[in-house]
Symmetry: C2
Subunit: 329 residues, 2 copies
């Protein structure tokens, strides 16, 4: 067995304090397995929660961290037909992507077209998939219909307005920092409003009579309540994140008389429950958008695995210009 | 135009203070109308909310109150075919049933079989319909599956466990008063637990591994949160009342990781959106249950319309032995 460099935790705690760079053993490649060299792997908010121990899915300790990433196939087992040596693939959830090399069942890999920038490919499996599923699976949106979301500058948030733009839906995007308004408008957001008391009034003013039937919430607390207030009767608020770490208070009247639905989305559950054919079908759309640049996530910096602490610190900053990736090891 | 006795409000306020007994004009019976003599009409919690002005549907003031009731057809228009003179019918929502006689479009009436006790028939349109729709329209329950509800001693609550028993589902019923436990068990509740801190533990203990996928909430606040905690992953909590007058706090984890859904139900909306055929189909089932005594609501007292204040006072008591009805005028 060979050893490879990886970002490992032995205990949960403050993210930059618990990560260690170590050599981990790589299992032998079985007949149905593939071995990949990791090319790029992002640091997502959920990864920080895994480090803290607040995420419901976590590695057995000690364990390798990292929720998604892209790799190149270097070796395949004798029974593997779905991927070829040299091919670029999206790595499956749960393997721990912050490592030089990884071995996993080949059938869990998503082959990625050559013409998608590798850094972008590394970020397609969690955020754009979350955005696309939430736009498709809760409310059947008509062309031109409005969708409202908070945390619009997050990875999912940007994917939401980019995918909505490509699909012909309009978005109202709530952000905390005024300097983001111009930027998000340039990137395809239809309307950007500032977070805080009264945001629901600005949302309603933007949509007029056509109040959104779908709201996407990654914040919780008062921000979520404001989205609920802005929804049309019989609308649905989908929660996929909890940045404020506060639950949401739901008014009984919103449930009984306004017929609002409050749902949740977790992309790990979606992957677990979907057939592989459904996953591939979803990526057909995501790959097209990524190739054409309609789906693009800015990258602030790429760190080698050896600089895990610095990378985690950079990713923990509230005001970043883009994603922090591991890569180039 | 003739005049009939009715319970009228000229303004909203404390229920027993705002009701007046007056003579109101009865419109002429048009070709498609029917005129009914009211036989019995209950005082439901929603009626008290109408009097207070806290209910979203309310009569134009001054207006006649009363959400449901049963009458006997005394006159029909020349074009009416659906009901016959002498027939017992359920009166439609919104006509103001607390009155001696009423005229309304015949097509809005639900003909009621002769062999259903009239007092029971008067109480079928709101509570049992609410109970049946909530049991059918949110989660597809398998035989023997558990349903959990609070406010189990209310009109809807009793209908829920009686309909569930007839349909082969099991119920866990949360009540506030210990003396109700024995009574509800005798009436068909499978498990009765006491409201308050820790109720979710008793609910879970009762169902073991088969946690309920459907919860019915008429209270809000902490009671609703306890029901949510007791639900199985991907379960649904349906809110149809707000007795505590407190909203519910939803944990982000319950939405994202446990995939719970929070929905609302309002029977007025159901009637508005349903076809008349769908309404008649629902009452086929409700009438069978009422005829066989599987659906039975105890009556504490019947008041003539002239004693409206006393009736309202009796209905406002927290600890009643049954419904208060108007009738016998």
């Amino acid at each position: 067995m060979s050893k490879v460099t990886a970002v490992v935790i032995h205990a949960h705690g403050k993210p930059e304090e618990v990560v260690r760079v170590e050599q981990v053993e790589l299992p032998r490649v079985g007949p149905k397995d593939a071995r990949m060299r990791m090319l790029f792997a992002p640091i997502n908010p959920a990864d920080l929660n895994v480090l803290e121990g607040t995420y419901p899915l976590r590695p057995t300790l000690p364990g390798v961290v990292g929720g998604e990433g892209v790799g190149r196939v270097e070796e395949i087992g004798s029974a593997v037909t779905g991927v070829r040596i040299g091919e670029v693939v999206l790595l499956p959830l749960g393997v721990g992507t912050w490592r030089q090399e990884v071995v996993c069942p080949a059938e869990d890999l998503i082959p990625c077209p050559d013409d998608i920038p590798l850094e972008q490919a590394a970020m397609l499996r969690v955020n754009p998939a979350t955005a696309l599923r939430m736009l498709l699976d809760f409310v059947t949106l008509a062309p031109g219909e409005w969708v409202v979301q908070n945390s619009a500058n997050s990875g999912v948030g940007r994917a939401v307005f980019q995918i909505a733009r490509a699909r012909g839906w309009r978005t109202i995007n709530v952000v905390r920092r005024p300097e983001l308004i111009e930027e998000l408008l340039l990137l395809g957001a239809d309307v950007v409003v500032l977070e805080g008391e009264g945001a629901e009034v600005n949302i309603r003013a933007a949509t007029g009579e056509a109040a959104p039937r779908l709201g996407l919430n990654a914040v919780g607390g008062e921000s979520a309540s404001r989205l609920a207030k802005a929804l049309a009767p019989s609308g649905t608020l989908v929660t996929y994140g909890a940045m404020s770490r506060q639950g949401m208070r739901i008014s009984n009247g919103d449930l009984i008389f306004r017929d609002l639905s409050f749902r949740g989305f977790w992309v790990s559950r979606w992957y677990r429950q979907a057939t592989h054919a459904a996953r591939l079908a979803m990526f057909e759309e995501i790959f097209i958008l990524a190739r054409e640049g309609q789906l693009h996530t800015p990258v602030e910096a790429v760190f080698p695995l050896e600089k895990a602490k610095e990378a985690i610190e950079a990713a923990s900053q509230g005001k970043r210009g883009g994603k922090i990736l591991f890569g180039g090891s």
